[in-house]
Structure formats: structure tokens, C-alpha cells
């Protein structure tokens, strides 16, 4: 599904990623973990087109997507969420999700300004689809709330609902459990599993080990910009080099 081939990213003199080669399988949930500074977020920013890469290639289902802009990737079915939750704060919850349907609609400035018949029909469809996505994320009650006034946990859910509205083939989640309480984290785990069931490939960077062990089919451990280990959650838990990277050499 998603494959990285010798990907490096250098910031000035700092090598954040050093010839990383990875592959993530279709329809699975892959977790990317590692100590702070391991290069997890850099990896996400490269795959999602926010950073350009220094060398290497990124492949999405046989298509080389290295250096593609985020908006192009969205059209190809790759979306992400952000660690700090990037909502459209002044817009309503429903409108946030409606933006997610941007690539699934095409009315231009002129047909929108003149409310041409095609645009009116399309607008209705966008609204209906968006309401369905809010239901999927369990947020229909908050449809008319201004996004910036949502509690943090709900903001997370909204961001995921908005990303799903793009109808992606693959979704990257950057620390989705950060800042959530334990009840919210359980709900999140259920939502992530539901997303996989609907056929979307999930990749998450996460610090919450319980969540990673619960939902992930495969875990990749990064350390100091290199792949340290790959395997099932159980294998990773028992891997001595992972344990020493996290706890320091005894």
C-alpha cells in the first residue's frame, strides 16, 4: 500500500531520517512508535507532502508520490490528522466535515456565486454525506457547534471525521490519543477499528502503548532516524533492542 524506499530527511546538519525503508500493508493498522526525536513526525510530514524529502522515494500503491503536494495526495486518497488538531475553528462542525468533501465535488467560483442548478444539487449531496460522516464518528449532536468551542477530545473526533469525508484509501493519524482521557481513548480505539473495517488503511504515530498494542496489526519502531524493529505488537514488546531504546541500556 505505502512503501518508503531509502527515505532521508536532513535539516541543516541534523539527519532526522536516515535511509528509512518501510512498507505498510493494505487494510491493516500500522503503528509507528519510538522515543522522542526518533523521526516519527518527520516521517508523517514527508509522506503527507508537508516536507520535501532529501533523498529516497515514497510509493502509494505503485505510484511514486515523493514530493507531491498535500492537495494532490488528498485527491489520490491519502489524508492525515495533526498532533495539535488543526480544525477550521470559526466554522461549524458540519462545515468542517463539508470541507472534507472538497475533492468529491467540483463547482467553481462562478457556479457557486450564481447558484447554478448543478451546484445546488451538489451542495445538498455534500451536506447529506457530511451528516453521515458525523454519525459515523458519533458527533451528529454537535453539527451546528462552532468547531473552536468543542472540547479537545471532540475536536480529535471531528478531525478524524473530516479526514474520512475525503474518502481516503489511507489515513495517517499523528498521536490521536494525545490529550485524551482514558474513556475517550477507548472510544478512539473503537473508531480506529471501525475505520479499518470500512477498508481504509490506517497508520498511526502514537505514544500511548496500550492503544498501540490494542489496535495495531503491525508496529514499526523508529530510533534516531532509523528503523529499529518491525513486527507484531507482541514481538515488539519482547524485542530486547526496543526495550533498551526506551529504557536506556541497563
Amino acid at each position: 500500500m505505502l512503501r518508503l524506499q531509502g527515505v532521508s530527511k536532513v535539516f541543516g546538519g541534523l539527519t532526522a531520517l536516515d535511509h528509512v525503508s518501510l512498507s505498510m500493508e493494505k487494510g491493516a493498522i500500522t503503528g509507528v512508535i519510538g522515543p522522542n526525536g526518533a523521526g516519527k513526525t518527520t516521517l508523517f510530514n514527508i509522506v503527507s507532502g508537508i516536507y520535501s524529502l532529501t533523498s529516497g522515494d515514497v510509493w502509494l500503491e505503485g505510484k511514486n508520490i515523493s514530493g507531491f503536494a498535500p492537495e494532490t495526495l488528498a485527491k489520490l486518497g491519502l489524508v492525515r490528522t495533526f498532533q495539535n488538531v488543526e480544525l477550521f475553528g470559526q466554522m461549524s462542525v458540519l462545515e468542517n466535515v463539508m470541507v472534507g468533501l472538497h475533492t468529491k465535488s467540483r463547482s467553481g467560483i462562478v457556479s457557486c456565486a450564481f447558484k447554478l442548478p448543478g451546484q445546488v444539487r451538489e451542495e445538498k449531496r455534500i451536506r447529506e454525506r457530511s451528516i453521515q460522516w458525523l454519525e459515523f464518528a458519533g458527533m451528529s449532536d454537535e453539527a451546528d457547534v462552532t468547531a473552536s468551542s468543542l472540547p479537545f477530545g471532540k475536536g480529535r473526533l471531528l478531525e478524524i471525521a473530516r479526514a474520512l469525508a475525503v474518502e481516503p484509501r489511507i489515513i495517517l493519524m499523528d498521536e490521536p490519543a494525545a490529550g485524551l482521557n482514558s474513556r475517550e481513548t477507548i472510544e478512539l480505539a473503537a473508531l480506529i477499528k471501525r475505520i479499518r473495517q470500512s477498508g481504509v488503511t490506517v497508520i498511526l504515530v502514537e505514544h500511548d502503548m496500550d492503544l498501540v498494542m490494542d489496535v495495531c496489526d503491525k508496529v514499526i519502531v523508529l530510533n534516531l532516524g532509523c528503523t529499529l524493529a518491525e513486527g507484531t505488537p507482541r514481538e515488539i514488546q519482547e524485542n530486547p533492542s526496543v526495550i533498551s531504546a526506551y529504557l536506556g541500556e541497563g
Binding site: E71, L73, E86, Q90, L101, Q119, E123
Partner: protein, 324 residues
């Protein structure tokens, strides 16, 4: 659907009010002032699309207004092009220009964008002054013909009122439609988080340039209308001061609010008329107004009024409860 209907009703009421206002102020110089309110509303709405929706500042919008006015003025006087035709040519030309300069300029953000648009405004202003054989230089360009439809020539304040407000209402309607559409949402998304908007598949760069061009086209149309109603134009109307005044109108009325743009334009156009008695001290009142506005109604008049109304309603409900 009810929300849609309410929006339509509000617009219909507004249009009706615009239609009947001349009946009350017939024959007075206020009709002339209201013509300017119309032109300024059109300009403020245009700038609001860029500033309020997309969150991109322009300190050079008076230049687009001026280019519309001068292109129409020159085409009609020196080349005997019909006024409507000249207006169309100017709008298209300004749109193309905005599209071209939009690509490099809108890469910039915040203060840098402000500086770049400011620079553009100043360059255009200097051109108006210096290309004397074309524009007449600082002493202006006169003898611009009025617009006409068949036997009807727009040569009086009353007629101009309806001409200008026809265009202004149309601009407002299109802007309201636009801001509640897929494109409007994408623009507001860019305003709140450009990176998230791009991740959702919004081509932020292209969309910003498009809305910049649309905003410039509307401003140019306002300029052409201005030229043909005044029949005389001079560079002083299209300088940096007016660009700032336009931004003030949008901010006072409320970013993103189309009716707010009207309120802002109305206040900033009418106020000087009533402050004339204060002579040079009117600027003090201006300044105070701005300070008070930003302190107590940072979201602009429209959202301020909405807040006050909500508070009053809540207060009323509270009173009902104590009575019962």
C-alpha cells in the same frame, strides 16, 4: 432549508429598503451621499471576499478601483469606446492583471503580503499621476460619458442611485451565495488553517489567486461605475488612504460578514458628512471610534450586535424566571 429561506428573506428586506430609501431623501444631497455608500459597499464586499473569507490582506485595493475607473475613462474619452463596452474591457483587463500578480504576491503571508500589496498600490498611484498624456496627471480626467440604457441616461443622482445600488445588491447576493458554498468554505478553511485545508484537497494557492482576481474585478467594476457617474476622476481618490479606508470598512463591519461590509461602508461614508462641523477634528472622532470598536466589538459591528441581542434575550429570559 429554513436557514436558506431566512437568508433569502433578509436579503429581500435589505433590497426593499434600498429601493424605497430615495423616496424619503428625494432631492436632497443625501441621495448623492448614498450613491457613494453604494460604491463603497461594493468595494468593501469585494475586499471582504479576500480579507474576511480567505484571510488575505490587501492594502492596494484602491489601485484596482482606480484602474477600473481610469481604463473606462480613457477608453471612453480618448478612444470613443461605448461606456458599457469600456466597463467590460476594464473588468477583464484588471482581472487578468490581478491573476498575474496574484501568483507571486499571494505566496507571501501576513505583513509581507500587506507590504507587497501596498507597493502595488503605490506603483499604480504613481502611474496615474505621471502618465499625464493618458490620465491627465494630478489634475485628473474629465468629460467621461454617463452610462445609458436605450433612451435612459444615468445623469442625475436619483438615476445613479438605482444604477449603483443595482450593481451593489447583485454583488452582495453573489457574495452571500459564494460564502455559503463549497468555494466559500474552502476559503474560510484556508483562513483558519491553510495546511489542514490543503490536506483536505483544497488547492489553496490557486484558490487564493482566484478570489484575489474576483475581488479585483468587482473593484474595477465599481471603478468604472464611479468614473461614469462622476464624469471626472483624479488620482487622489485612488491612493493609499483609500485602500486603508476600505480595510477599515471591512473590519468595522465585521470580517466575513457581507451586511457588515455595508454597515462599515455606510458608517465610514456618512460619518464625515456629519462630522463636517468639527472641521479637522473629525479625524479624532474617527480614531476614537476605531479604538472603541476594536476594544468592545473586535468581531465587527454585525457580530457585536448579535452578541448584544443574545445577551438582551438571555436577560429577558432571566427576568421572566424571577417574575414566575
Amino acid at each position: 432549508m429554513t436557514r436558506e429561506r431566512r437568508k433569502f428573506l433578509l436579503f429581500a428586506l435589505f433590497a426593499l429598503a434600498v429601493l424605497i430609501v430615495p423616496l424619503f431623501i428625494q432631492g436632497s444631497y443625501l441621495v448623492n451621499v448614498m450613491v457613494f455608500v453604494g460604491i463603497n459597499t461594493m468595494l468593501a464586499v469585494a475586499l471582504n471576499l479576500l480579507l474576511g473569507l480567505a484571510g488575505q490582506i490587501s492594502l492596494g485595493h484602491a489601485a484596482f478601483f482606480g484602474l477600473g475607473a481610469y481604463l473606462s475613462g480613457i477608453l471612453t474619452t480618448a478612444y470613443a469606446v461605448g461606456p458599457w463596452c469600456a466597463m467590460t474591457i476594464s473588468a477583464v483587463a484588471v482581472g487578468c492583471l490581478a491573476f498575474l500578480i496574484g501568483f507571486p504576491i499571494l505566496k507571501l503571508k501576513g505583513h509581507y503580503l500587506a507590504m507587497a500589496t501596498l507597493g502595488f498600490g503605490i506603483i499604480v498611484y504613481i502611474l496615474f499621476n505621471e502618465t499625464v498624456e493618458l490620465t491627465g496627471g494630478p489634475s485628473g480626467l474629465s468629460g467621461i460619458p454617463n452610462l445609458s440604457i436605450g433612451p435612459l441616461t444615468f445623469d442625475s443622482d436619483e438615476k445613479n442611485y438605482y444604477l449603483i445600488w443595482g450593481f451593489t445588491l447583485f454583488t452582495m447576493l453573489l457574495s452571500i451565495n459564494l460564502s455559503n458554498s463549497r468555494i466559500g468554505r474552502a476559503l474560510r478553511a484556508i483562513h483558519d488553517s491553510e495546511i489542514a485545508a490543503r490536506v483536505m484537497g483544497v488547492n489553496a494557492r490557486l484558490l487564493k489567486v482566484q478570489v484575489f482576481a474576483v475581488s479585483a474585478i468587482i473593484s474595477a467594476l465599481a471603478g468604472s461605475l464611479y468614473a461614469s457617474t462622476m464624469t471626472f476622476i483624479a488620482p487622489a481618490s485612488f491612493g493609499f488612504n483609500f485602500s486603508v479606508e476600505l480595510v477599515t470598512m471591512v473590519v468595522v463591519g465585521g470580517l466575513g460578514s457581507i451586511y457588515g461590509s455595508f454597515l462599515g461602508a455606510a458608517i465610514l461614508t456618512l460619518l464625515p458628512e456629519y462630522l463636517r462641523a468639527l472641521q479637522d477634528y473629525d479625524i479624532v472622532v474617527y480614531g476614537l471610534l476605531l479604538i472603541l470598536m476594536t476594544m468592545f466589538m473586535p468581531g465587527g459591528l454585525v457580530s457585536g450586535i448579535r452578541r448584544v441581542a443574545a445577551a438582551a434575550r438571555a436577560g429577558m429570559r432571566g427576568k421572566d424566571r424571577t417574575n414566575a
